[in-house]
């Protein structure tokens, strides 16, 4: 592991100032915030991340989960995954988020990992993890070894000729379906970004994954209140029953009026280069009756733009069935 300097900050401005010394907040950042460390330390051991300085932000007052006065929830960047998943309001009002978090990693990791760390979780693409191979995300211009290589786990939606890495998070799929907002503070002050606009597609710059700029610190996320009577759930399909990343997953937020779907939000995991909100599925479902035939139409719409690789063609049908099954359960 490359040597680094570890500093501790006790204020948000100090944190912003420290990270702003790095030319970027994206891949190759020379200064990294560290909180839980579950993802960053792993990648530092693999020399995928080589920061010169780590900024320990665990002392910042950003670990609360709070109800907002106008309804909705505010989750601090440093709130541990375990604490969010087991929070009474999350379980009662946003079960999709609790289920998604608990379906990921292990208890040990969830006890350490934070909300913002999970938000910025890096891909598990084996070529990104292995510095012996070319990877445009890790080292721009070195090619994508996954295209034509081991790509069974990788993305079929949002890919480019430069990168097909999948976003591995479960939490972020639930947050996409819940239309969360990511709150960031930085050199230019505070700003709020809808999660739909927070992640960027790889295109020709896969080393950039989010809209974060040098100095930016995620302070919290907010989740709007849901219409009364809304149900939500997370369904995750994977190679083994626990402690495994998704091959395909679906987050559903839905409200019926009689037999008809009055309100619905759909996001897919395991298949996209970012947490994959499917407006196509939502449009197909809105106002329709909750029937298997209509669910299948929505699933076809959600995967219409899928571009499978040499080993992950099975994900197209798997994601469709995952979505149909999740919709069936959520509207039962």
């Amino acid at each position: 592991m490359q040597p680094f300097e570890l500093i501790t900050v006790n204020s948000i401005p100090d944190a912003v100032k420290a990270q702003a010394a790095s030319p970027t907040a994206q891949q190759g950042a020379q200064v990294r915030f560290i909180a839980g460390g579950t993802n960053l330390v792993d990648y530092m051991k693999l020399s995928v991340e080589t920061p010169r300085q780590l900024v320990d932000i665990n002392g910042l007052p950003l670990d609360k989960v709070e109800l907002e006065s106008g309804g909705g929830l505010k989750i601090g960047a440093l709130a541990r995954n375990t604490d969010v998943a087991n929070h009474e309001t999350v379980k009662a009002q946003y079960p999709v988020l609790s289920q998604a978090i608990l379906s990921g990693a292990s208890t040990q990791l969830r006890n350490m990992a934070t909300t913002a760390g999970n938000l910025l979780q890096k891909t598990r693409c084996v070529y990104y993890r292995d510095t012996a191979f070319g990877c445009n995300k890790r080292q721009p211009g070195t090619g994508c070894s996954a295209i034509g290589g081991h790509n069974r786990m990788l993305a079929i939606l949002g890919t480019s000729n430069h990168c097909i890495a999948s976003n591995p998070s479960d939490q972020n799929v639930a947050l996409a379906a819940l239309e969360a907002t990511v709150h960031v503070t930085g050199l230019k002050g505070d700003r709020a970004t809808p999660i739909a606009d927070f992640y960027t597609l790889p295109g020709s710059t896969p080393e950039r994954e989010t809209v974060l700029e040098a100095g930016d610190l995620v302070t919290h996320i907010t989740i709007p209140p849901l219409p009364a009577g809304t149900k939500s759930l997370y369904l995750k399909l994977r190679d083994r029953a626990s402690f495994e990343f998704a091959l395909a997953s679906a987050a559903i937020v839905v409200k019926k009026n009689g037999d008809r779907i009055e309100f619905v939000r759909v996001a897919l995991g395991g298949v996209g280069t970012k947490p994959w909100r499917s407006l196509e599925a939502e449009h197909a479902l809105h106002g329709k009756t909750a029937t298997p035939a209509n669910f299948r139409i929505a699933a076809e719409a959600a995967l219409r733009s899928a571009r499978p690789q040499s080993q992950n063609g099975f994900k197209v049908e798997l994601a469709k069935r995952c979505l149909v099954h999740a919709l069936t359960q959520a509207t039962a």
Binding site: P3, L6, K45, N86, A105, T107, L109, N111, S242
Partner: protein, 215 residues
Amino acid sequence: MPTQNDDSSRPMTSLEKLSRRAFLARAGAAGVVTATASVAAPKASATSAEQQPSPPGATIPGTVPITLKVNGETYKLQIDSRATLLDTLRETLQLTGTKKGCDHGQCGACTVHINGRRANSCLLFAAMQQNAEITTIEGLGAPDKMHPVQAAFVEHDGYQCGYCTSGQIMSAAAMLHEPWGPSDSDVREALSGNICRCGAYPNIVAAVQSIRQRA
């Protein structure tokens, strides 16, 4: 490394041979992690001739002074900032009950308790745990005074080679205070972050359930 006594052609017994752990402790004594002083000395010190304390006032470049609280005792150490809690426990404090398996948070052999919650010590930098109450398997129980989970693992034969066992036990002990349901499948899910290559899972589940049903 000699395999025979100098004054005898008689082969050494295995007990007479230098133990693997003692050999590794000496071979690794010139490593990056150096304990300069401890408020309470480690119980099992492996200090050897090569492991000289640094001269007063001198610090090895890249090292940082830290204070760790482990199993109720406070240690003042000078460590490489890259040292994980796992390596610091094992190589500096000689608390070798905590095991290194994958070193990437995937196997759970390194599980310890941080402020009462279980965590993978291989993914924690020791220098970031200075305000934490750290508990290792050595602090959970002792052979003559076993923690109920340790006793249950003995009773139910919850291991074969034993390498994952301390991590399994630390996870199981923490699980008792976590919100899980009563079934065997809850135990399997709760302990999915602890991999057992021998496949002692049925006995591990039986051991953990025997404690939960007694509680």
